[in-house]
Each structure stands twice: as C-alpha cells, then as structure tokens.
Symmetry: C2
Subunit: 337 residues, 2 copies
C-alpha cells in the first residue's frame, strides 16, 4: 500500500522504507541504533560515492532507477577492486520531504540492487537541506583472501608495460542513453527503434557492473578500475598512476548493436564511446601469460570481455584508428570539478 | 605556503589537502586508488553523519572548526557505542571550488580531530554541485572485543527499568554558544565576559566527545547513545527504543559556569540545556551494582560524569524541577526533517 502525500518525519522514512532493506543483517539493528556492527572476518574494501540530481541523474528519472544507480556506482568500485559486495551505509539529503510514492519506488530500486549485487543496507543518515536530492553511499566489500597472489585488492597503479588491456561489457551505451533521455535532436538521426532507445536509456538508468568478474580480477589482473568518467580519462588515470603509457585500438572497442548503428550514421558518436561517462564496466590490465585463462574464466562466468589494446613504456594514452593514426577527442571525460 | 585563489581540480584538492591526512594508513593508498583496504581483525562499528552549511554549521564558521566538527560528530557515535575510532571516509560537496585558504584551514581542522580522536582518512569522494557545502563522513571504529560481557557494541535500546542515567561533560554549552555566535540580543543579557563567550562558542564549534569513555561503556553501561539533538529528544529515543520510561532531575544536570550564570538571569536558558542540540556528550544507563565502579573509572580517565536520573517502567520522559514537578518544554530538540 502506498500512502498519499509526503513523508512527515525522519522516523517514518527510516522505519517504513529503509528498515525493511536492513532486516537481513543483524548488525543493522533494524536501523534503530546510532551505528551498525559489521562482523566480517576478512579485510574489507571500502568506497564512497555520491549521486546528485542534475549531476548524476536527471530530475525526471524514476526513483527506483535512482536507488539502483546509487548502489550500482558504488558496487562498481568494489567489483573492480576484486571485492565481494556485502553492506552499505547511505546518507540521504532532500530539499523537501519526499512523497510516499517516491520513497516507495526509491526503496524498491535499492532492494533490486541489493538482490542483484548481494549487498545489504546497514546504516546511514537522513537530512533535509537545500540543494539537489543527493544519495551518498559508503559500500563495503569482503576483500580477496590473498590466496595465491597474496593480494587483498587489485590496485589502479600497478599496471606494467606489455600488459594487455581489457574492458567488460560494451562502451558508450549509457552516454548515448543520456542523449536519448534528454531528447537531444541528434538522437533522432540515428534511426534507432523504440527497443534500441529503451536499451540505451536502461544502460544510463541502471548500470550493471560485472559482479562475477571480481574474483577473476584478483586471480588474473595486475591492475583494474571501473569506468565511470569515460574510457579515455579513466585509462589516463590508470596509466598515470602506473607510470606507463597505453595504446587502444578504436576498432576493438566493444559496442552494442544500437551504438554500432548510431556510429555508422553519426561520426560524433565516437566521442560518447571513448569519452562518455557512466559505463560502469571494468578496465583491467592482464599479462599475456594469463590472458587465455582470464578470457576463458570470464566466458564461463558470462562476462563479456574485449581486449582493446596494451600498456607500454612512457606516458599518455593513444587511441588509434584502423589505419594506426592517433585520434584526438575534444571531450576527455567527465570532470567532477 | 598557502596559494591564492581557488582550487582548480579535484586531483589538486585531493593530493594537496587530503592525501596528507591519509598518509599513515597504507590501506588508503595515498587516496590514489578507487577504494580503501581496511584490515582490522575485529568486528567494526560504523556510522555515517553529514554536516551542511546553514544546518549544522554557520556560513561564517572557520573552516578548521568545520573540519573538526565533521569528524567529531561521527566519532561521537562510535564512542557512545563503545568503539575505538580508527578510520573514516569523507564525501565533500561544494557549490563552487573552495579557495586554497579555506581548504588549508579545513584540512588543518580535520588533522587536529584526527590527532585528538586517533582516526585517519582512508577514502572518499569530492563533487561540485549546487546547495550548501556538505561534509558527509562514514566513521569506522574497532568494536569491543566482547570480553566479559560478550557484547561488541553498546546498544540504544537495551536500557531496563531501575537503571541509573548518566551524562558526560556539561549540557547546553553548544546551544548557548550558537546563540552567542548568532549575536542574538538575549546573549547580551546573560552578563558573561569575553572568555565565557569564547568558551560557549568553542563548545559549539569544536564538540569534544569523551573518547576515554568508550571502553568503560562496554564494561559498565547497559545502554548508551550520544547527545546530538538535545537531552529531552535523545533520552526519549533511548526510552522508546528500550520500552522504558525515564525521569530526570533538572537540578542534577551538569552545567558549566557560563551556563549556570546565564540560567540565573534568564529562565529560558533551561530550554537550551534540556532541548538544545550539539552537546555530543554521552547518555548512558548503568545498573546500581556497577554505578560506583563506573564513576570511579570515569574519574580516573578524566571524564566528567553526572547521574541525572533513572529509568522506570512504562513510557515517556519526565524532567522534574526541585519540587518534583514535571517541567514542560516547548522545544523538544532538533528535528532533521
């Protein structure tokens, strides 16, 4: 049953909509205490990301999708570090009390993400203050046991020259989905049908980081990070942090059918593929020696994987076309500042 | 050296001002990775609280004090749960890039709080978006080992009828400090000198939750929580969560010298004492059997402790005056919604 009107108190918001999301974890104390107790006998990987209306999601986005995205963008970091998502704390900020409808939808989206990624709400904070609706999440994952590699976490700055570069999934779907959602005129020129528009929009609204890849990264990847601000920018960060260069072949970038079609009629789509944000796929560097095993294991887990280039000595990121020429892009990914 | 003007990039902000705060924890990876690794072989207590300009601090408050407060209000929850503060993640949101001056001061305040409370920055997030400057922190403490009581965390809802009620420190200092800081006319009527004004303002700007009390709570307290929204409201929460009632004697509330003086000439000050927020002291319930040991241990640790009343059966909070009459208050503490 959904109530009419707006939520009237912090207690009602927490107990009606959020506490049910915390009921499977005894350490959450039904969200009735001031803190949570987390008893995981492993090292933990922790990450914290906020999403805000008008910045990371659009004012009209469905509340369930906003809830999903808030969890998914954090889970994405855990996965890329090789960790298994376990729990999260969430701080909500509203300029005015949300409606019961909105909160019910939002909580449903959180719950769907919890089921998809195996994570549970254990605590948080709720406040009313001016500014956009903001959802800030701290996500906690169980780190790899250390096993054969002795590593608990896959770093960003540990790539070496000669390693192969992989990405999961397909690139640019979310960036084009944003164009579609904004009803930008150029989307009409792509000649896509309603189902293809829906696919792109869903990629923007509900990022699906590749959960199954996490343990494989620990086993096979020398370095990894998630793609949130666009391949060019994020690969630049990995290369810089590792003190290496990177070369990527444009022709090897994995594209969905709708993006392939849009690119065929609109050359500017390449910017969305290379520099668009919100992919929430994994970028990783793997040695030649491990490449075949890594690919086979990813295939068994149902994770789409593409080898897109390699790391080299020196510095900088080169993205080259079919003729081997470096391609320059005006936009180089989303900047938070 | 402080640079002129505003911080120009997220990377500069993180590496110049925040990374030095993370340098003592290897699992923070110099804030250069996407996540932190936390390897504490104990259960963890976690809490998440945000402070925002215009809500939890005033626009003109010194940046160092804002940094201190953001850490202290989170540490306060850890202490009240009996946990030892260890690490925190911090999400910053600015409507416009901060100046170098502001960031240098803010980082200094964070660093002072880190030293005072034994906590280290390990990760976070930085964004520019509309709305007030907001600092959201997730704080992590090492939980009690379980020891003789078998408990890892001191709950809020575990008080029983007959237990004695204690608070640490003095009450109302921060609430009066806010009145002083706002230059409200009634502050002039209190007849306080500059040093007393400074004391009250400092109580508002730099809450000092009683770190040394944490292990004693685990040993002696049946229930505990921190006082952030005013004694009346927070005690009401503890009583409701525990299914008990509470009676407090106004005359036993611990007051600082400036608050005592203000109260002597302005009867309305009692509202600030009972229902004002921002005390960040600990409220706890202790059995008669443990009372003497608890008091002695707190004394040895230098924590001021006052027995202010007791829990009873039934429900509700009664605050009574010297004649035993229940006192009614219009304002019943800060509401977040």
């Amino acid at each position: 049953m959904t109530l009419a009107g707006r939520v009237t108190s912090e207690g009602e918001l927490i107990q009606r909509y959020l506490a049910p999301l915390a009921c499977t974890n005894a350490g959450a104390f039904g969200l009735r205490d001031d803190a949570a107790l987390l008893n995981i006998a492993q090292p933990l990987v922790m990450t914290m990301d906020a999403i805000a209306e008008g910045v990371h999601f659009l004012p009209g986005d469905p509340a369930a999708d906003i809830g999903w995205k808030a969890v998914a963008v954090n889970v994405s970091d855990l996965i890329a570090k090789g960790a298994t998502p376990r729990a999260y704390l969430m701080a909500l900020s509203f300029p005015e009390a949300p409606t019961h409808d909105w909160m019910a939808d939002f909580a449903r989206g959180l719950g769907e993400a919890q089921s998809a990624f195996g994570i549970t709400l254990i605590g948080g904070d709720t406040d009313r203050r001016p500014g956009p609706i903001t959802i800030t999440i701290t996500a906690i994952g169980a780190a790899a046991s250390g096993g054969s590699t002795g590593r608990h976490m896959v770093g960003r700055g540990t790539a070496r020259p000669g390693l192969l570069l992989y990405v999961t999934g397909t690139l640019g779907d979310a960036a084009l989905g944003l164009v579609v959602r904004r009803r930008e005129p150029r989307a009409a020129g792509w000649g896509l049908d309603a189902a293809q528009h829906a696919f792109l929009e869903a990629s923007y609204l509900r990022p699906r980081p590749p959960l199954a890849l996490a343990p494989l990264l620990v086993e096979y990847a020398a370095a990894a990070m998630d793609l949130s601000d666009g391949l060019a920018k994020d690969l630049g960060r990995m290369a810089a942090a590792s003190g290496v260069s990177a070369v990527v072949d444009l022709s090897r970038l994995p594209l969905s059918e709708p993006v392939t079609r849009a690119l065929a009629v609109d050359a500017s789509v390449v910017s969305a593929i290379v520099a668009g944000g919100d992919d929430y796929q994994v970028l990783c560097a793997v040695s030649h020696e491990h490449a075949a095993d890594f690919e086979a294991a990813a295939h068994r887990c149902g994770v789409r994987l593409a080898c897109i280039g390699a790391m080299g000595s020196g510095a900088g990121v080169t993205i080259r076309d079919g003729a081997g020429r470096a391609v320059a892009f005006g936009a180089t990914g989303y900047d938070h500042f």
